[in-house]
């Protein structure tokens, strides 16, 4: 099961219904071929960085889908190429990091500091570590957990930076994270 992502730009001169119809055509096309639509995003009207066929704006759509075999891709691209309403398109096969990134982005994790789904993992880790140790070391444990918490928290900060791209904040915030990461890795 490979996951793909197709982004295409629809001509903005068309009416709203036609634009939606265009996107729907391809969704139906994909579904008809037995693909599982993971996500469909209407990015909306954007200023193009350069003119394409005398248009300065375009309506962006992004569709993520899963397909067992890649045979759908050439068929889809042929259809997109023949369609006059489509100004540009790009099909990309996503690796596991790409899939994760898109999932996180959809769940609103990118652009925020904390990752909720990391919490259970953190709890497990600390359990596994602290269990064999005697209660006498309890005093140490909370300190450790404290040290860990910011690591998990802030290691996701760059993802936020990736979304928002404030160069300064990026350099400032996670410096502590880097330090703590090395500290914990030494402990392990």
């Amino acid at each position: 099961m490979q996951q793909y992502e197709v982004t295409f730009i629809v001509d903005p001169v068309l009416s709203g219904d036609e634009i939606e119809g265009t996107a729907k055509t391809y969704l139906d096309h994909l579904k008809g071929e037995g693909c599982e639509i993971v996500h469909e995003e209407h990015i909306g009207l954007r200023q193009l960085a350069y003119t394409i066929s005398k248009r300065t704006t375009g309506i962006y759509y992004c569709v993520e889908f899963k397909s067992d075999s890649g045979t759908i891709v050439p068929k889809l691209e042929l259809a997109l190429r023949r369609d006059e309403r489509i100004m540009r398109f790009l099909t990309v096969s996503l690796d596991k990091y790409g899939v994760k990134y898109n999932d996180d982005k959809r769940n609103g994790l990118i652009g925020k500091k904390r990752m909720p789904d990391e919490e259970p993992v953190k709890a497990k880790e600390s359990d596994g570590k602290d269990a064999p140790k005697a209660a006498a070391k309890e005093a140490k444990a909370p300190a450790k957990e404290e040290a860990k918490a910011p690591v998990k928290e802030e290691s996701k900060a760059p993802v936020e930076a990736e979304a928002e791209a404030p160069a300064k904040e990026e350099t400032k915030v996670p410096t502590a994270a880097a330090v703590t990461t090395t500290a914990t890795s030494e402990e392990e």
Binding site: R88, V92, Y101
Partner: protein, 88 residues
């Protein structure tokens, strides 16, 4: 009399040292570079829209290649210009 500790440098001796460059993707654990995020990608191109070399961005080879791919994809989809002036 002035002791050794009292001696002050006229200028900060650390001023001339440059901060060591590092790969931000490795440092912060960014594994995927999104081509649909032109604001992020603009950090890796110059004012003319050219991809900056590794010796300036400090990226590791692995991620420099990914950045280059993402920038090229963004150009194709008109998120970034191929050539321009005063991009930033």
């Amino acid at each position: 009399m002035a002791s050794r500790d009292d001696i002050k440098f006229l200028s900060n001796p650390k001023l001339g040292q440059k901060a060591k460059k590092y790969c931000r993707f490795r440092k912060y654990g960014i594994r995927h570079i999104d081509y649909k995020d032109p604001e992020f990608l603009k950090q890796f191109v110059n004012e003319q829209g050219k991809i900056l070399p590794r010796r300036i961005t400090g990226n590791s080879l692995k991620y420099q290649k990914k950045v280059a791919t993402a920038v090229k994809r963004a150009r194709h989809l008109a998120y970034l210009p191929f050539v321009t002036d005063l991009l930033k």
